[in-house]
Amino acid sequence: MAVGLQTEVPGAADDFLAGVWKRNPVFVQVLGMCPVLAVTNTAMNALAMGLATAFVLVMSSTVVSTIRKIVPHQVRIVTFILIIATFVTIVDYLIQAISLGLHRALGAFISLIVVNCLILGRAEAFASQNRIGRSILDAAGMGVGFTLALLCLGGVRELLGAGSLFGVPLLGSSFEPWTVMMLPPGGFFSLAAWLLLFSGLKQRRERKLAGEAVT
């Protein structure tokens, strides 16, 4: 997935936008799949999970970038994980305080943000090598991209599985819900469908580029 491999020095906007679109963590890099599939059965759960992950991502990137020069190379991964685990514990209590129902719906998946490879990946690949400002922008971009991807999945699954969006019924009472979309297989199928859509778009663009090169 070498889409984002560019040689020129990227500006601030590029740092942010790369995560949202060109190097979208879910659709392009296929990272952090577990929560993507597990908690996207409704749009609300997807949004909450996306925001929680984005918060942990930004906070841990900030801290990692701040202390990047004083952490010995050998113990950096353990240090990063402990930083991430601290912020996840904070988010866990925060969600519990805001809405107990949401906390129950997301269940163990809030704690499991710790092992989301996306967060550790950004800490290791970007925040540990860049200044604080750029690291925050990068983390924010990735967080927004992740949240958008979760919403894409959650929206489709809730719309087809229950005929509603954010709990608001949209498709009327004559709509027969596709129960399977709410169940585990629906997660696999809708993610596969989104990936198909994106690879289709990419192929069309490449063919267009190839056509332009010939003429």
Partner: protein, 193 residues
């Protein structure tokens, strides 16, 4: 305390609530190292071993932290124990079988961030399992993970010979296969109430 029988716990963790196909845990290695049956089974064995060790450790930590009245340290201590167990397994495999070590590659250290393992520790604590129940639960989860990995790798080996359109190659077709497997595993749902 939870009074489920050991057989129920095992079958539940292994088939009915299969970690990969029903809970979506451990999807990264599921998509990453499921190309060959051989690698898949060995990866499954390594994960099962780490699960067993960290399950026992998690039981001890939970008891200790309950006694010390510091539940907020639970997550951090769980992940620290898992990371060190993975390090241990990595050194062991490197010593015993060099080719296997190279075949598993980057996915071996990544067992640390395999959500299935942390999930075993979290679920057994949430459900209030005793020590033996926890170990059986971890073993069932490991067997279920290996089973899912083995099934999908067999399918993918066949798939390489099949004539698939360019557009579905790679992750998309694997996810479609996983979805169908997941539907099959839903058939086990009626085993228990």
């Amino acid at each position: 305390m939870n009074d489920e029988s050991l057989a129920t716990i095992f079958i539940n963790a292994c088939l009915v609530n299969n970690f990969v196909l029903a809970y979506f845990l451990g999807i990264c290695p599921f998509l990453g190292v499921s190309g060959k049956r051989d690698t898949a089974v060995r990866m499954g064995a390594a994960v099962t071993f780490v699960m067993l060790v960290s399950s026992v450790a998690a039981y001890g930590i939970h008891a200790l932290l309950t006694w010390a009245d510091a539940p907020y340290l639970e997550l951090i201590s769980f992940i620290a124990v898992i990371a060190s167990t993975v390090q241990l397994v990595e050194m062991f495999i490197k010593k015993v079988s060099r080719p296997l070590f190279e075949a598993l590659g980057i996915f071996l250290p990544l067992i640390t961030t395999n959500c299935a393992i942390l999930a075993v520790a979290l679920f057994q604590t949430n459900k209030g399992y005793g020590l033996i129940q926890s170990v059986v639960f971890a073993f069932g989860a490991g067997v279920g993970f290996t089973l899912a990995l083995f099934l999908i790798s067999g399918l993918r080996e066949k798939l390489e010979l099949a004539d698939t359109p360019d557009i579905v190659r790679g992750t998309a077709i694997t996810l479609l296969l996983a979805g169908m497997l997941s539907i099959c595993f839903m058939g086990f749902a009626g085993l228990f109430n």
